[in-house]
Subunit: 325 residues, 2 copies
Amino acid sequence: MTEFVPQLPKQAAVVGCGVIGAAWASRMLLKGVDVAVSDPSPDAESIISQVLANAVVAYDDLGLATDSQGTYTIASSIGEAVAGAELIQESVPERPEIKSAVLAQIEESAASDAIIGSSTSGIKPTTMQQGMAHPERLVVAHPYNPVYLLPIVEIVGGEQTTLGNVRKAQGFYAALGMKPVHVRVEIDAFIGDRLLEAVWREALWLVNDGVATTQEIDDIMTHGFGLRWAQMGLFETYRVAGGLGGFRHFIEQFGPTLDWPWTKLMDTPDFTPELVDKLVEQSDAQSGHHDIRDLERIRDKNVVGFLKVLEANQWAAGTVIAEQR
Amino acid sequence: MTEFVPQLPKQAAVVGCGVIGAAWASRMLLKGVDVAVSDPSPDAESIISQVLANAVVAYDDLGLATDSQGTYTIASSIGEAVAGAELIQESVPERPEIKSAVLAQIEESAASDAIIGSSTSGIKPTTMQQGMAHPERLVVAHPYNPVYLLPIVEIVGGEQTTLGNVRKAQGFYAALGMKPVHVRVEIDAFIGDRLLEAVWREALWLVNDGVATTQEIDDIMTHGFGLRWAQMGLFETYRVAGGLGGFRHFIEQFGPTLDWPWTKLMDTPDFTPELVDKLVEQSDAQSGHHDIRDLERIRDKNVVGFLKVLEANQWAAGTVIAEQR
């Protein structure tokens, strides 16, 4: 977990400057890194200046210094952008043939040991690194928008990526203020997007079948479990739900309902003793140092804080609190 | 939406006093409602006093008055608890035969026009109201824990429930400081738990297949999309992701990846023109009055607020911010 050393890249390149690329550039700039941007669209400069302006407001509000910003340049070509960069972030459209063509152009001019991080939401790095001259430095570095605020980045290496380069990439992203989680097993869509994809599919069925509107679904998220997941994930939340009986008790209670017809997405793993043990052991390792009652108090304090923020911003669940004044 | 009138119940009963029942009682008490509690366990009084203590801390922190609390009594039977109650909240274990036996006992002593709200996570009200003397007043009122803090409650009527009683129930829960969403189509697991079930299944596969640990999955949620969903749901978030092109643009970009093998949960609706139109119309109705750039600024302000709260509490994504000071 801590085998990498946070280290800012001396210079960075952002290839593909839509919403995600511009937000990457903003994060880098606000950490003092100079960034060369390449995008065929004439809108790139306008997008980056707008996104950067938002990011500066956010960092000021957060109290993170924005006074030693890096500078950005709009390069006239991919080659010009990546020359001299230690970290190259690729955020071009999600089409394998485009990714592949862009990677080839990057490699023509990039230093052979520059790290190339791809923002792809789901294409495997092993696929992308086919045919690369230096495939060992390609990683997926999948962020979540707004990239300049959300700390998570999933780091995935392909078959030809060296572990040293995975660590080096983690060091770059950590120095950029992120939490770089190394996804150790290479699967399509990695971890976060598999979860998002499942929710998205189920939500589409609910709208498709006329059960709920987009507004109702969003309300249930923002006024309900969304407030939980900003501070404890699925497993820690359910550990708390299990009460003093712990995670095993939770599975005993909730597990059987997995066989109930509660979704159209039906493939489920069996709760073998091995899977239950694995879940319990991992949950203990993750949260076992906290007493359940402590976790409840921490949860409440976090949620109370969120509700105050939302009330001050007159937004979502905060409006329900405001009505009670 | 606003056809109900917020109105506190004069007296309430909580039948089944585990974590959920005790949290219901706490919300009612802190809104000044007297509550009679029934539970066969000798631990009921201890559970309710602990959960109430947490709730008082949370309401104090939130700045909601806790000085005109209702009083609670531990009744010696279900009959004693429900006599005279205008609102009866049932939170007994999730087994149809237990629910059915408890509902029969409730009806023996309850006023015939008392509203019975069931906390069930997924059993249909039409199933539960079979054999009831006054089925027209049974609703599902499904909360999310911690019930005293999270405002959402899904209200579902069965075939025999009158719409008048759905409105009456919504009025009670609204007066208790909640947002009562009427789930208009009766399906197993309603809306929120269908989404949760999909995530849970996918997360179990990830652990089962050794792709990720519970800690890694939770980190990706709490440092990533969880921070989004506490303030904008799936659809509003994706609307923003679509940028100036709006929701239709988002679907055009993201839609096709639904056919990619990104999950083991494979049943997906087709993106027919009808479904796309429905999604776009609903998203416009929900968020169309906000400019996308405004939504981005609101989102950032909310997330910044959450990150400050988490940093102050030394928790989750807040620890990543703290490291940057």
